[in-house]
Amino acid sequence: MEALMRIEGVSVHFPVRKGLLQRQVAAVRAVENVTLELRKGEALGLVGESGCGKTTLARTVLRLVEPTEGAIWFDGQNITDLKGKGLAPYRRRVAAIFQDPFSSLNPRMTSGQILTEVLKVHKYPGDVTARVQELLSLCGLAPRFADLFPHEMSGGQRQRVGIARALALDPEIIVCDEAVSALDVSIQAQIINLLEELRTKFGLTYLFIGHDLSVVRHLCDRVAVMYLGRVMETADSEEIFANPRHPYTRALIDAIPTPDPEGERGREHVALGGEIPSPLNPPSGCVFHTRCPLAMERCRQEVPVLERLTRDHAAACFALDAEA
């Protein structure tokens, strides 16, 4: 499958400034040397816990945050160089859905106005009113929703408006940042199904950021597991959950209780000890070594690189060599 987008060696460091002269005293290393490929038509999941850099990476892809190093290639173009007006075509082709539709929708605008604004700003060539109705209906909202304000809708309905807005300009990629995390269980399932349906219908490519592994596995074809700014493992969804190779991925899967009391009673799980270190001062060597049950001397000193295990499975861990 061809790569639609390539994230190449991207690092994002946020400076910490102090004092009268605002001298930089430290840096939060949010994303550290990440290389990933987004293939046309796939849903790629980025999972990890707080501070793992998944949201920063998504924001970098959306050009809301500037990378400190590296490049992002989209359709043969390095989009990290784009500026001002040059960004407009990119913004049309790469859209976003955010976690909290309440704070990402303007409270003083009806959903009709919200959708109309996007279409007008990007000079939509067709009939704007018809398009607004079409978008609402695609997202399962009756025409009357065009006249409602965000506070007049439920969380699920607001997220449908957020999705309609992302679809407005026929994008190729949609970045979904925790798009279903704030919703009630029964509503979450509705939105997941809607996202799947739209992807098939329009051949969309998703970059799906989430912390709920069950949701990510269900929705995504491939998964990249991140920890403290780095990618620890990538593989097909089925593969990574059936055969996780990185100790962090294993711990993450272990930590999730499945809704099956019978299965849970027989299931051994060892909770991962320790805390997630601060990205202000990440551990030396492999950033996971402070919590890793397999940590060796080498892990404290050297940084493991993502090594390809099979065609579509890669992990960054020294213990894999020992295992082999």
């Binding site: 269980v185 029964s186 399932a189 949701v215 499945t258 099956d260 991962l272």
Partner: protein, 323 residues
Amino acid sequence: MPLLDIRDLTVTVKSDGTETTLVDGISYAIEPGETLALVGESGSGKSLSSLAVMGLLSSALSVTKGQILFQGRDLLGLSAEEIRKIRGRDISMVFQEPMTSLNPVRSIGSQIMESIEENLGLSRREARDRAIRLLTEVGVADADRRLKQYPHHFSGGMRQRVMIAIALAAEPKLIIADEPTTALDVTIQAQILDLMARVCRDHGTALVLITHNLGIVARYADRVNVMYGGRIVESGDARAIYAAPRHPYTEGLLQSVPRLDQDRSVPLRPIRGNPADPFTRISGCRFHPRCPYVAATCRSTVPAYENGVACHFPLDASRKEAV
């Protein structure tokens, strides 16, 4: 005798002269040492019913009916002073957001010791020793030094450990934990819930675990009450309910969650519509607008809660196949 026996508890809110029922006549009991989960979505009344037990309802809310029997004594008949004594000593609570439930300008040590001195009548020195033992028990390393620190020195997971230490301080018989790990990362969530399960087992403490996460219920609870629209719609042994849900809402919830132990291609079957809004009047069964099996009776008559389920047409295996 059950440790806690709630009978026909009704909580209402008054605003602009109209009274709205938020918790509608729920009854359940919990035995000493048992773990009971209350599961439901927003607005189901799962948190409110527990705040009522603690006597912590805000002033706009009131208990208009029912009894809350704790070791046979009705908590609703007690004075504010008497209930304050029970709260903290016999029943304690762990909330979702440990940052907002700890006092930011007092050291961790003084907050734990306050509870110990108050409830157990120990001296300063004894209280301090006990605080150190408690913190060590809940996995806070270097407890001696950390007693002097403030909440902002602690990470989210550590703060929740401190909350558990405070909850345990007076050896309560019952802990109510309201979404105790919802704000935490999954690996930390597992640490905290394992810890709660262990301390409750070691101390013989009963636990009411309020959550929206069906996986957590499965891993940690013996029994479960499923709540919807201010009522308990189904209750019973967690294993039996997961294996064969009898209320259509329970079934719908279980079919809504993606699961790691199932094939990816199994499609999710969401419940249609939105969770019941307590401020909108719904006739009959409050779940009927969303229920795939709805019949005329469901629109007109409120189903009674009998044999662990509140439904006119509880599911059984044969009926499921027919749909």
